[in-house]
């Protein structure tokens, strides 16, 4: 009973907006949705978001896996300093150095581009530490056996270590994707047209416009356009996503 109450309270704001979007004059309708879809370039926003979020994940995972592998398995002078630098990336959030990041991206003439949005996030300390942890757990005997079979360092990395880091990769993917697709202030600062704008920024623009014009149905429907796909994805994979959100910090 208490559970049902809690669930109802939490679901309420979302349910109300979905109801307002899909229910009009006593029956189900998608008219609000299609009207809103035409009011802003949602397809463009979605594509931009996919490129930014997907690209960032791939780049972060590649750097993370390579650096994590070296840190997990090879002693070398300066290892402490290198680890500390990756930790620094975790400790100093982009939001703490926002204006200087803006100056750098401006100096590189990358304002208003997807690359400009991605640049400050391209190496993730969390990815490095996650992979380091995952690779440390791989038994050394497996590596030795593979080397006896004639694999070089890259072969060992590719065939012994990487496959065993798949759960860590998936967990990191959830953390990275949830963070970057919801990110707002940084992409807002970098973009000033729809060409590179991700969906969170586009939605905020539309919300401000429709709020000013008191077009509440547009606001509700635009929010529904963003929220419905996430809800569907989350409903399908909720256990894995929830598990990943905490294990993503297990390094």
């Amino acid at each position: 009973m208490a559970l049902a109450m809690v669930g109802a309270v939490w679901a309420f704001p979302t349910a109300w907006v979905l109801f307002a979007t899909f229910w009009h004059a006593g029956h189900f309708t998608v008219a609000n949705l299609s009207e809103t879809w035409a009011a802003a370039p949602f397809g463009r926003y979605a594509l931009n978001t996919a490129v930014i979020v997907g690209g960032l994940f791939v780049v972060q995972a590649v750097f993370g896996a390579v650096a994590g592998f070296v840190l997990a398995r090879y002693p070398f002078p300066g290892k402490g300093v290198v680890t500390a630098l990756f930790l620094l990336q975790v400790v100093v959030p982009v939001y703490a150095v926002l204006i200087q990041e803006y100056r750098i991206v401006e100096g590189l003439h990358l304002l208003n581009t997807k690359v400009g949005i991605m640049l400050p996030y391209a190496v993730s300390g969390i990815a490095v530490l996650t992979y380091r942890q995952a690779f440390r757990a791989v038994p050394r005997e497996l590596e030795e056996a593979a080397r006896l079979d004639g694999y070089g360092t890259f072969g060992v990395f590719r065939h012994v270590y990487l496959p065993r880091a798949l759960p860590a990769t998936l967990a990191f993917a959830v953390v990275s994707v949830t963070y970057h697709w919801t990110d707002f202030l940084w992409p807002l600062m970098v973009t000033d047209s729809d060409s590179a704008r991700p969906i969170a920024v586009g939605l905020a623009m539309l919300a401000q416009a429709s709020e000013a014009g008191l077009q509440w149905r547009v606001l509700a429907a635009a929010t529904a356009v963003v929220v419905v796909p996430v809800l569907a994805l989350f409903a399908a994979f909720h256990r894995r996503i929830l598990a990943a959100l905490t294990t993503g910090l297990d390094w």
Binding site: V6, V82, V91, L219
Partner: protein
Amino acid sequence: MQVTVGMGPRSRPAGESGLGWVRGRLLWVYAVLAVPLAWVLAFVAWPSFSTLWQSLWALDAVGRPTGFAGLGNFRALFAQPLFSEVTLNTVTYAVAATGLSVAAALGLAVVLARVRRDQVGARGLLIALFSPTVMPAIAAANLWLYFLAPRIGVVDWLLRALGSGGENWLGQPGSALAVLVALFVWKYAPYFTLFLLAGMQAIPPNLRDALRLDDPRGFSAWRRVLLPLLAPMLLFVTVLALLYAVETVDPVYVMTQGGPNNATDLVMYYLYQLGFEFFAWGPAAALSALLMTVLSTLSGLSLIVLERKAFHW
């Protein structure tokens, strides 16, 4: 805890002896690390340094340094008409949002710990609770904007049925800040619950069972035994909540733009205004330096707490 360090000579890769091999390997290691490290230096270390350094320079309207200013930017920032108001708003908001969201997270953790996987409605409950976690803060702010809106929002509709209503919750200073706090609790408390649940799972089940036998109603056992065991996770979640609260900007941008009467102007939004609306880059640089110190301290603190808890670097 896993034992992961190499154990004895057998665990080293074959042929590690030989100076040439070692040198070759070192070269390879540094070559692999060069790109990510150069990136960290360029996009983390350098901006951190220049955030502090630039706060000491006078800046023109496009942000170019024009001369050394010492602490002039900080004096100009403190003299800004909004500064003390923004500080007060941010502290009030951060303390209320942190306290309430951690308390709510603890309550939710206690409730969720009893839910079984196969229970009827468990799936629905999880989706209801965690959909705010996975949606952008902008979308969450829109949902709240819509359901609080005067005349069409359901809150107003309910209040009118009770005989009052017509209230613009975002139109009055006190209630507007309270709405932002409530939104924060709604969005983040379930997320924090995940960490508390993970902390509770670390408590051995036989200890829990023993306590349940000793003290069936569980209250004092909860308070005296389980709460201390959960304390590190609670501390982590508290620091995380503070960090998120200080970083809050999305709902301000969508719902209030800092108003009414600057009552919801929070520090991150103020920084954005100083730079991109007022072009006061000097005070903005000073505020950046202060914010960087606070945010980095908080996020460093959360890592230290996290590490002490059992995770290992």
